[in-house]
Amino acid sequence: MREVAIIGIGMTKFGELWTKSLRDIFVEAALKAIDDAGVDHIDSMYVGTMTPGLFVGQEHIGALMADYLGTAPIPSVRIESACASGGFAFRQAFIDVASGINDIVLAGGVEKMTDGADVTYALSTAADQEYECYHGITFPGLYAMIANIYFHKYGASRKHLAMIAVKNHKNGALNPNAQFQGEITIDDVLNATMVADPISVMDSSPVSDGAACVIVTTVEIAKKLGKPVVKVIGSGAATDTIALHQRKDILNLDAVKFSAERAYKMAGITPTDIGFAEVHDCFTIAELCIMEELGFCERGKAYQMVEKGETALEGRIPINPSGGLKSKGHPVGATGIAQIVEVVEQLRGNAGKRQIKNARIGLTQNMGGSGASSVVHIFKIE
């Protein structure tokens, strides 16, 4: 297996991009990444997107994006794993380069959610249509069920979830690409409109448009190009039951655990080596459960880490320095790639006001559905 590095990153601002089309936001992010990498061609492309067919009536995304990026006739294919589509697209690019099949590969993600489609329905297609959605469940509802049992078992409360939203908005306020660049208070979250008890609208990531792209190549080529070498030292992916109620333990996100274990094993490191992480906080409760599955603390203790400020920007292990899905925005297919863009910015020391001191090893975790798929990557600056 060849050693793999990221040499280019680019993303659009996340938010309600009503004047821009699906194809144009993708190409905007791709051109930024290509310019950043300074390459004159790419060999293949992987485009992560969840359901452009339902959001804007467009499928066949691989070909469309290669066409409008002007890279046709290179191979280009769409990768889908619900909200983890971006992370899985990156993994395919990593495999493509590591295997020696291609040398310079683009991994991207895109979603256009604000063009008027029924977003609640479109997102719910990531759950079990016949045995979950048929009964009227929604994604906030699934995570609300996880939250209720977490509260019951470990004694956490809505206040702890609110602390996560407050922290992520504080970080997002420092991110010029974030959808929401304003700080919020604990009371803002506690008093917000309830979506599915105990999840309020301020516990939930927003509906967003956006795209993000990265350029992947070998460490050898990265050095020849004179680029800062951000190495991909670990990659892991896993799956679990599609329906939440089929899990052995509702609180265990096994796909997150297995994807992390595989990434740690490839990297030859342990959770204590991770300096900071971008994780899939689609709802505030998800951030807590993920911290535990990634091994950052014991089971049932994540809310105490949050309470002590250990996951803040200046904390022991900053989580979601970008603002996370909650504040940065969550254009579902783009999220997994945007997490990687943030980690590369941090490792290069280019994160501006939200720069983490001595950032050396960063982790990304991107998840589909209520945890039926998860993909983890670990990055290190040389």
Binding site: E130, H135, I149, D197
Partner: protein, 129 residues
């Protein structure tokens, strides 16, 4: 939803039919073609218990379009007495009546109306026992 898709699920939605693995005994609802526990492909048809308890729950206040007239409604993960878990609405009670561990009983109810024609779709819900 298209009628073949609805019709296929009737044994599960109307009668709680499940599949029990002949080799390891694990019960699957809905039935599967291969056992995820022991990889056996031999099953016997069984009917699930109608009694169970709430594992976890929520109250939906923002619903998908076809459920929007029902809000707020309770929905729970229920563990039936034979150990099988499923998701169902818990009806004829208030949000504040919901609690982890409460006993419930499965009942046959209207679930939703489909499309502009308003075709009625049936299935199971739960009531507090």
């Amino acid at each position: 939803m298209p009628s073949p898709r609805y019709t296929r699920e009737i044994p599960q939605r109307y009668r709680l039919e499940a599949a029990k693995c002949k080799k390891c005994g694990k019960i699957f609802f809905p039935p599967r073609l291969v056992c995820s526990n022991c990889k056996s492909r031999e099953f016997e048809k069984i009917t699930l218990s109608e009694e169970g308890k709430i594992v976890t729950y929520t109250t939906i206040r923002v619903a998908p379009e076809q459920f929007s007239t029902q809000v707020p409604y309770n929905i729970a993960i229920i563990e039936l007495n034979d150990g099988v878990r499923l998701m169902a609405q818990v009806v004829d009670c208030k949000p504040e009546d919901m609690a982890i561990g409460k006993p419930v009983r499965m009942v046959f109810r209207k679930i939703q109306e489909e499309g502009a024609a308003g075709i009625i779709c049936y299935g199971y819900k739960a009531v507090l026992a």
